[in-house]
Symmetry: C2
Subunit: 306 residues, 2 copies
């Protein structure tokens, strides 16, 4: 008889990451497949299920349950995406049920940042901190919320939209159409806008990682850029801490690799607050666990989200 393992899938605009964990939560295998958005969600589900079967065969195991994290506004009840700028062709498609049929196991679906938050709570922090906020830094800025050891996905599955908190009302234009959202300062396009203002021509051709490298090399404009990114994130984190009084705020995603360039101003903002107890209690860190979104989805399938 083959052992039972748990699948996590983290579907982004370019790639979908897969992770397999044992019933004790140990990572057994990782993989990825291209999302290929123009070919549509039906073809994607087949591609992902093929890869999942290949993984299970390699592990001499059978899938027990799967967790599906997916970028966009997720209707967890109906198992579909209401809207997703990065996965347009997936909107309205019953992706959870399609994956359930393809794999023959139950599938739990959540927004990708919620699954990453579960990964932060369960893997990164070892379930020792009941109240954990996760902030995802990439093209956009998202988030997920674990409170009292339970994922809080909200009344319509939309909770955790950290990136659309206003940090500068009337400020820079966000991809959502509003002004002054955190994402307009700390999403990759916001960082590049700030870099163009602070670095002038030296910002040309750089992506957010390039701006981080320039800052580490000592470029004054790049350092000012990250200070402004960190100040915006500091305002956001202070708001989060005042509202939710968490044990930890964990940054994940591509841009979180900039580390101390934005963590220092965020920690400084917290230290400067008059309400000492919640602001000193909250640890602020960057997740070290690789591919925490797919792992979080697998652990969510195993653990049921509290």
């Amino acid at each position: 008889m083959s052992r039972r393992v748990f699948l996590g899938l983290d579907v982004g605009g370019t790639y979908a990451k897969l992770a397999a964990v044992s019933s004790s939560g140990r990572v057994l295998a990782r993989s990825s497949v291209p999302t290929l958005i123009p070919r549509g969600p039906r073809a994607f589900v087949e591609r992902a299920a093929d890869e999942a079967r290949r993984m299970a065969a390699g592990l001499v195991a059978r899938w027990s349950r799967a967790g599906l994290g997916i970028a966009g506004d997720v209707d967890a009840e109906r198992g579909r995406i209401r809207c997703s700028p990065n996965l347009k062709t997936f909107e309205g498609f019953p992706v959870r049920d399609a994956l359930r049929r393809a794999l023959g196991v139950p599938v739990a679906m959540q927004n990708d940042a919620n699954m990453a938050a579960w990964g932060c709570y369960s893997a990164e922090l070892g379930r020792r901190s009941p109240n954990v906020l996760c902030v995802t830094l990439g093209t956009g800025v998202g988030g997920g919320i674990v409170l009292g050891g339970r994922l809080h996905s909200g009344s319509t599955g939309s909770a955790g939209e950290v990136g659309h908190m206003r940090v500068e009302p009337g400020g820079a234009r966000c991809a959502c159409g509003e002004r002054g959202c955190l994402e307009a300062y700390a999403g990759s396009y916001g960082i590049l806008r700030l870099a163009r203002a602070e670095m002038g021509r030296r910002a040309r051709g750089l992506d957010a990682r390039g701006v981080a490298e320039a800052a580490r090399r000592g470029d004054a404009g790049a350092r000012r850029t990250w200070r402004r990114v960190g100040d915006a994130l500091g305002t956001g984190v202070v708001n989060l801490v005042y509202l939710l009084n968490p044990d930890a705020v964990v940054f994940v995603g591509g841009i979180s690799g900039a580390g101390s360039l934005f963590l220092d101003p965020v920690r400084r903002a917290l230290r400067a607050q008059p309400f000492k107890t919640p602001c000193r209690h909250a640890r602020v860190l960057v997740a070290e666990t690789p591919e925490i979104g797919a792992l979080g989805a697998a652990l969510y399938a195993l653990e049921g989200g509290g």
Copy 2:
């Protein structure tokens, strides 16, 4: 044999309100005693316990448990206030255990806004909405959070500090010492500051209720004042909705009587948001239940906060 009833106490800077509820949650009696801060917490506990005994005798009942809501940063574990600008003499005093000894029943202690939030969830909305945010409007702006039918008081009991979310970084000075907090625009002193700017000499001698009356009489400056208050609250509520995706945001406290003067701009802000699902789902209302803080504390004693 006398029946068992549940006591709620809501301790503010001037008065403490008391409420008695039956085991089915029905309000049986209400009362109040002066807080008399300069005489200290020990004398207050005796005064409140005397009044509670008088209430119980009148009801031919015995207290079963009590809920204690108190303005300030509450250490629920140790049953004391860490700090409270409005109850200075209470800081550090073991008020929960003193009340427990005086009444001879278990006492659950929470920040007053948390107890009001439990009242909103349990009494105002009849436990039909699992995710409820309460915003208290008075001298300061506070809040409480019920998620998944459970009170979220945070890792150190400090959650729900809605009033210190930044709605205008670098903006008006808040009583906490920071700039741009929601309270600096929607706490009574913030409203009066805006009224002085918008109404000039006509603001003299008015309190926040007076500014509301002037607006209802058609005073253009008073109307502009409330629009600015409503815009600040709108930014705050939008942030809350994006983060927590609640079923309802309920305003309570003295200033919430201004009703549509601030509710209209708040609802307008939500309607203008690009993320339709969470923003349309959240109802925004003013609590109609009288003395919801004391009632919430009694229901919390009865129901255990989920």
